[in-house]
């Protein structure tokens, strides 16, 4: 069994989970219906649990979450995108949870340092993916309004999806195979939802997708400020 944990890889996976968890947590008190409020909070909790395990592999989880500057975060830009409307959040979930489910399934099958976490989390993420897929169909194949909003979200987030399949140092996965499986699944879902698969580039449009190198989009700084301000203002505070 490989026991060396790549810091780069642990931060990449951990930050994806942490940042998306925070974004989903922002829905608390604002979701369209109570069931969705609870669903999004539960998904956020699963992701937070994964982030805690991943970050703890390479350092102190609190220091990593609360005391790093924006440029030190290694999450893909997709997960830091603001919630937008409900369709926007659901499409972000579809794109990300499909990727995460495929990735964890591959990691779980190996014997690397992420295998135990991946074997556990892949079962949780299966429910996240199912949730996103069901909602994608419901919104896309729903009313004119929901269809239009879902299509808009689908296109707006498309350019951030290529970054998920770029190589990450210390992460032993076949990015090309992962991407092919992702495209097949997501395109199939979009068609079932009567949505048009976007034609634009999936990265590189304006260098979208440098989150793994620490370059983030403008809304991320404000998200971090909110996430970190309590810890920074009151070091060592506890309930």
């Amino acid at each position: 069994m490989t026991t060396t944990v790549s810091t780069t890889a642990a931060l990449a996976l951990g930050d994806d989970a942490l940042v998306l968890s925070h974004r989903l947590g922002e829905w608390a008190g604002h979701a369209p219906v109570l069931e969705e409020e609870v669903a999004l909070a539960n998904i956020a909790l699963d992701l937070l649990g994964q982030a805690r395990v991943l970050l703890s592999l390479v350092g102190d989880e609190d220091e990593l979450a609360y005391l790093r500057e924006e440029r030190a975060f290694r999450n893909v830009q997709l997960v830091e995108q603001p919630n937008g409307d409900f369709a926007h959040t659901i499409l972000r979930q579809l794109y990300f949870s499909t990727y995460q489910h495929l990735l964890y399934a591959e990691l779980a099958a190996g014997d690397g340092p992420f295998a135990p976490l991946a074997a556990k989390a892949v079962k949780e993420v299966a429910y996240h993916r199912d949730h996103a897929e069901q909602w994608t169909v419901r919104l896309g194949d729903g009313t004119d309004e929901s269809h239009e909003r879902a299509q808009r979200a689908c296109e707006a987030l498309w350019r951030f999806t290529g970054e998920m399949f770029r190589p990450v140092e210390g992460l032993d996965v076949d990015g090309a195979a992962l991407e092919a499986a992702w495209l097949e699944s997501v395109e199939g879902m979009l068609r079932r939802a009567t949505l048009t698969v976007p034609e634009g580039p999936r990265s590189g449009a304006w260098r979208a997708g440098a989150g793994r190198q620490g370059l983030h989009t403008e809304p991320f700084g404000r998200m971090l400020a909110e996430m970190q301000h309590l810890h920074r203002s009151h070091p060592g505070a506890s309930w």
Binding site: E35, V38, A41, N42, L45, L48, Q50, K123, E133
Partner: protein
């Protein structure tokens, strides 16, 4: 196979007798989350605890409860270690645990099935679906005629359903 001393077996039983903080009708043994107890000295012990879900917030409370119970039993130092592998599954819930869940009003997870959600069903929620060989039954009236309201309920491990026979909503412990 590591041999277990009588004291370890006794402490394992004690740790397993702690009630689950979220579902107090179940003990940690019935939930299947206490994996092992190892002596680390004459009065120092390490307990292996596995979470149901990675982010389950009850783990911290379980750890504190286990520490308290074992300290009351003369252990000076109790360390609760979180283990992830092999991943916990709802198949680790004992038969007794399943019975208690049902009596508590929670439909227990179905045993021995592949974890994860069932295949996507299109169409209205109440459309007649392919007959289930092992349907989720209402814990109140026993009817197999139930529908899913939400995949996520009061905790990450449960889904919210409704019985179409007695109209009562209920939680279902999802297969994982």
């Amino acid at each position: 196979m590591v041999t277990t001393t009588p004291l370890e077996a006794e402490l394992l039983a004690l740790a397993g007798s702690v009630p689950d903080p979220e579902l107090p009708v179940l003990t940690l043994r019935e939930l299947g989350v206490v994996r092992a107890v190892h002596m680390r000295g004459a009065d120092s012990v390490e307990v292996e605890l596995t979470p149901t879900y990675t982010g389950c917030p009850a783990v911290e409370s379980m750890s504190v409860d286990i520490e308290r119970v074992l300290q009351e039993h003369g252990m000076r130092e109790v360390t609760v270690r979180r283990v992830l592998a092999p991943a916990w599954s709802t198949d680790d819930i004992t038969d007794e645990g399943r019975r208690k869940l049902r009596e508590f009003g929670i439909a227990p997870p179905r045993a021995g099935r592949t974890a994860g959600p069932v295949a996507l069903q299109l169409g209205p929620t109440r459309a007649a679906l392919a007959p289930e060989t092992d349907p989720i039954r209402c814990p109140h009236c026993g009817s197999a005629d139930t529908e899913l309201l939400s995949r996520f309920s009061s905790t990450a491990c449960k889904a919210l359903r409704r019985c179409l026979a007695c109209r009562e909503p209920f939680d279902h412990f999802k297969e994982l």
